[in-house]
């Protein structure tokens, strides 16, 4: 059996170890993720899901356990192969949409012309064709988040980490963006870790769901979501969807 793309085992994170404000942010998380998978990580605030994401992104050191990324297909460089999307779009207001998408390419000093071409393609992919020269404030919240998604893909990362990317959007826009994300994921073939505290969002998107609980922050269970892709909003009325949702609520103690 080949190694998984991401192998997390017994991962642990303690903030301020040995001090009065010592805080166990992550306790014993094990998770394997295959390349091209869209996996939802769901849990309440303080369950360590963002911490897990930060460790995977190489922005935080784990206190214990192992994290291996790359699997078989060549070395994985966390400074080259990770794209990130946050709850805020974090667009630079003095840059046009196109120049915002190009920011990671500039940091990585990728060839300019190819990057521009790719940025244009990505803006088409996220449904923003013809908006390249607009400024962020001329866009709606949903459109801004589309720009952020295009930006996370511009350097062709192998792994995209999303930390509640639609958490600040209104309910209808959020559902629309869920469908958009599914489409973008299918067309780009990226591995996506999608952190959310929206349970139906987690079920709708993920081929698997990692359910995390707080106090102590740990991984409660991994659930395989056996709903076919491409997924549609009307699947939310499907009885299996309800069953998965109930299972997650149960694990979070919210039945």
């Amino acid at each position: 059996m080949t190694k998984p793309f991401i192998h997390v085992s017994n991962l642990r994170k303690v903030f301020n170890p040995g001090k009065a404000n010592e805080y166990l942010a992550l306790s014993d998380v094990s998770l394997d993720i295959e390349e091209g998978e869209l996996i939802s990580i769901v849990g309440p605030s303080g369950c360590g899901k963002s911490t897990l994401l930060m460790i995977v992104a190489g922005l935080l050191e784990a206190s214990g356990g192992t994290l291996e990324i790359g699997g078989g297909a060549g070395a994985f460089d966390p400074h080259r192969h990770v794209g990130m999307v946050f709850q805020q779009a974090l667009l630079l207001k003095w840059r046009t949409v196109l120049d915002n998408v190009l920011l990671p390419a500039e940091f990585l000093r990728l060839p300019r012309r190819e990057a521009r071409e790719r940025a244009r393609d990505l803006l088409n992919l996220v449904g923003l064709e013809g908006q390249e020269t607009k400024y962020p404030k001329q866009l709606s919240g949903g459109q801004q988040q589309r720009v952020a998604i295009a930006r996370s893909l511009v350097h062709d990362p192998r792994l995209v980490l999303m930390d509640e990317p639609f958490g600040a959007l209104d309910a209808l826009t959020r559902e629309k963006m869920n469908l958009e994300l599914l489409r973008i994921w299918e067309q780009s073939g990226k591995t996506i870790l999608f952190v959310t505290h929206g349970i139906s969002e987690a079920v709708l998107l993920g081929s698997r769901i990692a359910v995390m609980t707080a106090g102590p922050a740990r991984l409660a269970r991994k659930i395989d979501v056996d709903l076919p892709y491409p997924r549609r909003l009307d699947m939310k009325t499907h009885e299996n969807f309800g069953a998965y949702t109930r299972e997650v609520y149960g694990l979070l103690g919210m039945e």
Binding site: V82, M84, F86, L92, W94, F107, Y135
Partner: protein, 244 residues
């Protein structure tokens, strides 16, 4: 656009009418025409005096921008400098800069450099504060994002931090532009041999109020030019393209 201009002209007109028919002596309220007429009095040396005052104001202002922004940069690069020096700067700022005038004259003597130094002292602090504030206004998530694509500290500064701080820097510069004018004039009042403030003291002895009015207008004009230049630069760098 026409409305505000008309209102300005209306004020000048009222001034002229009050001066002509208000029964006030000229040494209390000269009319606009009498004020403008002083421009043709060679003893007033308008070009030289205005040039000197403008030099003091612009010099002090530019010095404050250069040094102020640099210090704010040091603060943003080193947390230690910020923690150590910021409280000191705040304390120093509590000193009324105008009160330092006589001291600065002791140190530098009369003249352009002294008045520049007073202008600098009075408009330096707002620039440090606003710039430091602007440079610290970067979301932590933006830093994470930059770090995942291997951004260097310098790249982050150049592409994110500094452009983001520009609106703050400009608001500090606008406040300072007004203060610099006051600083230079106070310097000239305390002790100088040239400049518009000096001219005002000279003609005051003869109750030449019209010339004093004109000097105030020229000082105002210098302030307007400086403020306008800052506003234009702001428009070019920040507001154009609908960014801010």
């Amino acid at each position: 656009m026409a409305g505000p201009i008309l209102l300005h002209l209306l004020v000048v007109l009222i001034w002229q009418l009050v001066a002509d028919y208000g029964g006030l002596p000229t040494y209390i309220l000269p009319s606009p025409t009498e004020t403008l007429a002083t421009l043709f009095e060679p003893r007033n040396r308008w070009i030289e005096n205005t040039g000197i005052t403008a030099l003091e104001i612009f010099g002090g202002f530019l010095l404050a921008v250069g040094i102020g922004v640099t210090i704010a940069l040091l603060f943003s690069w080193s947390r230690l400098t910020l923690v150590l020096f910021m409280p000191l700067l705040v304390s120093l700022n509590m000193i009324p800069k105008v009160a330092l005038g006589p001291l600065i004259i002791v140190w530098f003597g009369y003249g352009v450099v002294t008045n520049m130094a007073i202008a600098f002292a009075i408009c330096f602090f707002p620039i440090v504060i606003t710039t430091a504030r602007g440079l610290s206004e970067i979301e932590p998530e933006m830093l994470y994002l930059a770090r995942t694509v291997n951004a260097s500290k310098w790249q982050i500064f150049l592409k994110i931090q500094f452009p983001g701080a520009l609106p703050y820097i400009f608001s500090g510069m606008k406040v300072s532009a007004v203060l610099a004018v006051a600083g230079a004039i106070v310097g000239e009042f305390i002790g100088s041999e040239k400049g518009l403030g000096y001219l005002m003291l000279q003609v005051q002895i003869n109750l030449d109020t019209a010339t004093m009015f004109m000097a105030v207008l020229m000082i105002t004009l210098i302030g307007v030019v400086l403020y306008g230049a800052v506003a234009l630069l702001e428009w070019l760098l920040v507001k154009r393209g609908g960014a801010a």
